[in-house]
């Protein structure tokens, strides 16, 4: 029995003491004890095996919040009126084990901004091979951003909202198709490559209307390297985009997305940055965007600062047309914190100041509608948006 204590000499001594003083009389019925222990072991092992083959896992997430702006410029659709619905959502995710390495994943999300209609956000089958590769097919999140997979899971993010400059120009989230990923684990680091292909047909809000968005022949590749402290990511994707609206914004236009991401997290310091470029033929705006976030954890509180920037690169394509309102130039600065109130609930507060719109609407809906209504003088040059938000995961 002393082998147990091999690595801790001090306890070998304690054990010696215990053996010497207490356990000598017990030696006689050792075999009985072993029998008992073996029985106990058997029954426990059985219990463990049963529980390790859990067939269904259920998880969920919830967010609610309050947003208010100092004017009606419309940053993230926030206005001078209080708004509880846009940040509110409820999600349920279940994973059904179909076999040792195969499962079905389902994610249902109800959003306050959609009158709480429940939508199947994810629904895919996944098979993991023992060599580190994985195949998925079904409805999945378009993996364009570093935080695409946690896009709606506020609890998983440091911010009150993902930086609009980078996360907003793509108005759709999930596609139907397939992907294949390969992960190579090196000592102290890991590399993952993922190729994906599919089709997307969804609705999005544009200039106060609901327009249809169709992306055909989506193909793309992501690559990720991490040493669990630093993470670098690259993504390239292309598709043919048809975007509705009156007049239609695009018909089968060649579209490309490029992105670079960087993050650092040592448990205290937090750094995140992404640089993205969208190029779409025709009227839809080609934009370059970037953000950088720096945060520092002090026990349960993580204050952060974010600076972000977006600028359209093809304003000449819309010159003299009503779609000029899609031109965008904007910088935004955010100051906020995340407070982990209990182990599953985080409270966040954020102040974002957006400015530098130049001659554009800043890509903000309130400004765009003012210009379309023939009131370009009603545009706001800057906006301040205040957000308090509660996120939970369970």
């Amino acid at each position: 029995m002393y082998s147990v204590y091999r690595t801790t000499p001090r306890f070998a001594f304690t054990a010696l003491a215990l053996t010497a003083t207490l356990s000598l009389p017990a030696m006689a019925d050792d075999s009985d004890r072993i029998d008992q222990l073996e029985q106990r072991l058997d029954s426990m092992q059985k219990q463990m095996t049963e529980s390790s083959l859990e067939k269904v896992r259920l998880n969920g997430f919830f967010s609610t919040g309050y947003t208010r702006a100092n004017n009606d410029a419309g940053y993230d659709e926030a206005t001078e009126k209080s708004d509880l619905e846009t940040l509110s959502l409820f999600g349920l995710q279940s994973t059904f084990a179909l076999g040792r390495n195969t499962d079905a994943v389902l994610q249902l999300v109800s959003r306050g901004s959609d009158d709480w209609d429940t939508e199947l956000e994810w629904g895919y089958l996944r098979h993991q091979f023992s060599n580190g590769s994985e195949l998925r097919a079904g409805k999945m999140r378009l993996p364009l951003f570093m935080e695409s997979e946690t896009l709606e899971i506020g609890y998983g993010q440091p911010w009150a909202r993902p930086p609009e400059a980078v996360y907003d120009p793509v108005p759709v989230r999930s596609y139907v198709g397939a992907d294949a990923a390969y992960t190579l684990n090196l000592s102290g680091s890991s590399i993952q490559a993922r190729a994906f292909a599919g089709h997307l047909d969804d609705d999005a809000d544009s200039l106060g209307q609901t327009v249809s968005v169709e992306l055909r022949n989506i193909t793309g590749l992501t690559a990720n390297w991490t040493n669990y402290l630093w993470t670098f990511r690259g993504v390239y994707a292309r598709a043919e985009a048809t975007i509705g609206g009156t007049p239609p914004i695009g018909d089968d236009e060649k579209s490309e997305f490029m992105g670079l991401g960087l993050s650092y997290d040592d448990g205290n310091w937090l750094l995140m940055s992404e640089l993205t470029r969208i190029e779409v033929d025709g009227f839809y705006q080609d934009t370059d965007s970037a953000y950088i976030t720096l945060g520092y954890r002090v026990k349960e509180v993580t204050p952060y600062v974010t600076a972000s920037w977006i600028e359209s690169q093809d304003n000449y394509e819309r010159d003299g047309t009503p779609l000029e309102v899609l031109d965008v130039r904007r910088q935004a600065y955010s100051l906020g914190f995340r407070w982990d109130m209990t182990t599953s609930v985080a409270l966040k507060a954020d102040w974002t100041h957006a400015r530098g719109f130049g001659k554009t609407t800043g890509g903000l809906i309130g400004n765009q509608l003012d210009v379309l209504a023939g009131n370009p003088g009603g545009r706001f040059d800057s906006t301040d948006v205040y957000t308090v938000r509660l996120d939970a995961a369970f």
Binding site: V4, T8, M48, R57, N59, G267, T343
Partner: protein
């Protein structure tokens, strides 16, 4: 000689018992069928979802004590170097993106001993004063 040595031993033993009762140390424990030792980095990799295997290549089953347990705090300080808030957020990201599941939570030290002793490929941690021969001590992380 022997007569003189005995009381000294008794004193040392008493001191040892006393000091270990006061200074409970964290130890990493495993199943008897597993490896004999493990490094802090290997334990950290397992508990932060970077590795799914024990040093002897067995598929690992990791266990943890509940939040608020002093050994869990010690484990987070010495091994994962992350606080509970970080870990909770990290694991909910892992779970909701299909990358893995957190170590199973065992409600008590006794429970920890029984599950680790009865699960092949298991790893767990415990207050050193509560260890018995049903489990194997793999490492005592140094502060």
């Amino acid at each position: 000689m022997a007569i003189r040595r005995a009381p000294v031993h008794a004193l040392l033993i008493a001191l040892c018992l006393f000091s270990s009762a006061l200074h409970a140390e964290l130890v990493i424990i495993g199943h008897h069928g597993g490896p004999d030792t493990i490094t802090v980095q290997q334990v950290k990799d397992i508990y932060l979802n970077r590795s799914s295997r024990m040093p002897d290549d067995q598929r690992v089953v990791a266990f943890q004590l509940p939040a608020g347990n002093s050994m869990r705090d010690e484990f987070n300080k010495l091994v994962t170097e992350r606080n509970d808030a970080w870990l909770k957020s990290f694991w909910s990201r892992q779970v909701l993106t299909g990358k893995g599941h957190p170590p199973r939570e065992v409600s008590s030290a006794n429970g920890m001993k029984s599950v680790v002793s009865s699960t092949l490929g298991s790893i767990g941690y415990l207050d050193s004063t509560l260890v018995d021969d049903s489990v194997k001590v793999l490492l005592a992380p140094e502060p």
